[in-house]
Subunit: 402 residues, 2 copies
């Protein structure tokens, strides 16, 4: 019979994996609209100024600011309207003292003009306007290059492309973007008792839950899940399945990571790969293994659905995001009072699933094997290793599931 | 010349839209793994108990609890091992007093047994074990139906399907799920100055940024963006484009929503549709219109890229999520000190884009027309309508972009 070695902390476990991670290197080119939530694999510099010319930032009249310094509500300045510049026109007109040109938001500023008076501060009288408010030189003008100067690096290699970065690329006329490929994750369910969802052949079988919760986490975190057929509790079969991970970026295998007669995943990883840690000071999810097999990171998750999914949030999510070069996720937190006493387990950090009911925090954790320990929860409370009891009414932070 | 009417607050504007929203009714059936982040369109009840039988929650020995009440570290109880039950076996064995059966996590509990002693608390001596710790009846047994009792409603119509809900469906053998269809959103860019990204034909043209930032927001919030060809500033053309929205669930039109010669979107919406509000007390993004056209909600966004994107977060995101029946998003918040004074605008809620630099909050807002006002920001600070200045060193909440 095997025993657990030294349990490592969550932080140590993650660090042991991070030390061995090889971030995705493969690159693909996608359409601009497909690039959102991806990671740029190139540095992008502006090949021209945005705006390309001095442009009006308002609808109104382009003037020489000096002409209207004296304008006020009671003594408007009178200017002659000598023409207009549409937003799609090149101005072929020069503004001289006493003159102005009608412009719209985005119009190119004509020669001689150096400010724009907003419509609201003017009154049109035939071919003249009355200006009721002074402007300073440059007022209501977006200067050439003021948004993006030519040559500026607007996107760096490794930048996460959110909506506004997509906007910057659009501003520069870029319609194809080089991004890092999404990591592919091989999910290997193991266990003689497992049946593929919907294909139970005998009442002793249970449906394979973990492949689907893991696939969901992989998808939500920028990876491509590939679910392997169910593998029986057999060293050779498990090894064969792990071999298939060599074409993938990450391997997650579930079941059989505890100590007991069936716990052969540790044996395979230990003999054919390199075990980084075996056992983590968390509850649920203690019997988790981190390993390297054929150069690929392997996370061996406990078979209990709640332990597996809890650890998917704690391990798989940060590991996958690092692999994918995606930014870390900080869960949303709500602070509220516990509605009853909770007894924890000294020496293990307890991720207690809870529900928010009438603004209070109600534990819903049943047992590691119960998927409803997760599904009925809004989030979890972290109870540190050195705390054995939290009293009813104590304030706790609830980390929300998304 | 048109003038703005009564400006409404952000909350009023949203409420005016919510009053008229018709949430998506159309349903499609998808594979379980495609259902993550979707909204269930059916109530799902458990058609059987999970677990289907009393099962062992541990690797160990199934016993009659009464036999080992007296066990302790110094006086173990001796039991005869009469067999074992594998996880995929139906037990054909009955445990009598003084006997036990080897079980693994998940094994069905044999007749006569009522508790499981963990391996760690036993010692095997040939065909007997020494039990070093008592168990109570039911200990380490997952009772039939304890996770999900038969008949229980595990997913409700309208439930958001996160990883753990997917897990519950998997546990029940459900491999196809009825979900609400994603709302389709027609994005209509307008403006004579606009060029399709990458297809600028004259230097006066500017690239259409808004269609792409809006498409990104739509995608990130469970919608399907459909980008219309660029529409010139022409009432008839705009009307024709809006007509195409009748096949879609929501229409977003950008540009030409301010007051001025070119602001014809308001005219079209007012003549052919119903304007719910025109002008919102926010900065940037004041000239936003909410309307109904052929029964569909229309959001008319300002053409300035930062105003447009800022309002996409403030209006489009919550409206689309409500339409799609998705849960609201509460942005992540960081509290930090402002590194310089900010002068705001009385009477408008100012969404000031900021960057976090060395733990301090640095405003990066340039002007509404500059997409970099958004792209260089980590998030925004909300300055209320009745605040005109925030001093350097003041604590502010930064709402983070994702």
């Amino acid at each position: 019979m095997k025993t657990f070695r030294l349990l490592v902390s969550l932080e140590e476990a993650l660090q042991l994996i991070y030390n061995r991670i090889r971030q995705v290197e493969a690159v693909e080119e996608v359409d601009l609209d497909e690039a959102v939530r991806r990671v740029s694999a190139e540095s992008v510099k502006a090949s021209f100024n945005v705006p390309l010319f001095d442009r009006s930032a308002m609808d109104g009249y382009c003037v020489r600011a000096e002409d209207v310094y004296s304008a006020n509500q009671f003594n408007p300045v009178r200017l002659k309207v000598i023409g207009s510049v549409g937003v799609d026109e090149e101005p072929k007109i020069t503004i001289r003292s006493g003159e102005c040109v009608q412009v719209a938001t985005g119009s190119i500023i004509p020669e001689g003009g150096n400010a724009v008076v907003m419509y609201e501060h003017t009154e049109r009288v035939e071919d003249e306007i009355l200006v009721y408010k002074p402007v300073y030189p440059g007022e209501n003008i977006s200067k050439k290059g003021s948004d993006i100067p030519e040559g500026k690096e607007v996107v760096k290699d490794g930048d996460y492309l959110n909506a506004s970065k997509i906007g910057v690329l659009a501003a520069l006329g870029i319609c194809r973007v080089k991004v890092y490929k999404k990591p592919s994750v091989l999910i290997i369910p193991t266990g003689n008792e497992l049946a593929k969802v919907g294909e139970r052949k005998s009442p002793t079988q249970v449906y394979d839950i973990n492949s689907h919760t893991l696939a969901a986490i992989v998808k939500e975190n920028g990876g491509i899940p590939v679910i392997h057929d169910i593998v029986p509790d057999d060293e050779r079969e498990i090894e064969k399945a792990l071999e298939k991970g060599s074409e993938k970026d990450l391997i997650v295998i579930t079941g059989g990571s505890s100590i007991g007669t069936r716990d052969i995943i540790y044996d395979v990883l230990n003999k054919r790969g390199e075990v980084l840690f075996h056992g983590v000071q968390v509850k649920p999810g203690k019997p988790t293994i981190g390993a390297v097999f054929n150069g690929k990171i392997v996370l061996a998750m406990p078979g209990h659905p709640t332990s597996c999914l809890s650890n998917a949030y704690l391990f798989l999510r940060p590991v996958l995001r690092k692999l994918a070069r995606l930014p870390e996720i900080n869960p949303r937190v709500i602070r509220a009072r516990l509605c009853r006493r909770v007894v924890a387990t000294l020496g293990r950090r307890f991720f207690l699933t809870v529900k928010l009911r009438n603004g209070e925090v109600d534990p819903v954790f049943k047992e590691s094997s119960a998927i409803t320990s997760m599904a009925e929860a809004d989030g979890y409370v972290v109870i540190p290793e050195n705390v054995d009891t939290i009293e009813k009414g104590d304030w706790v932070d609830v980390y929300l599931f998304e």
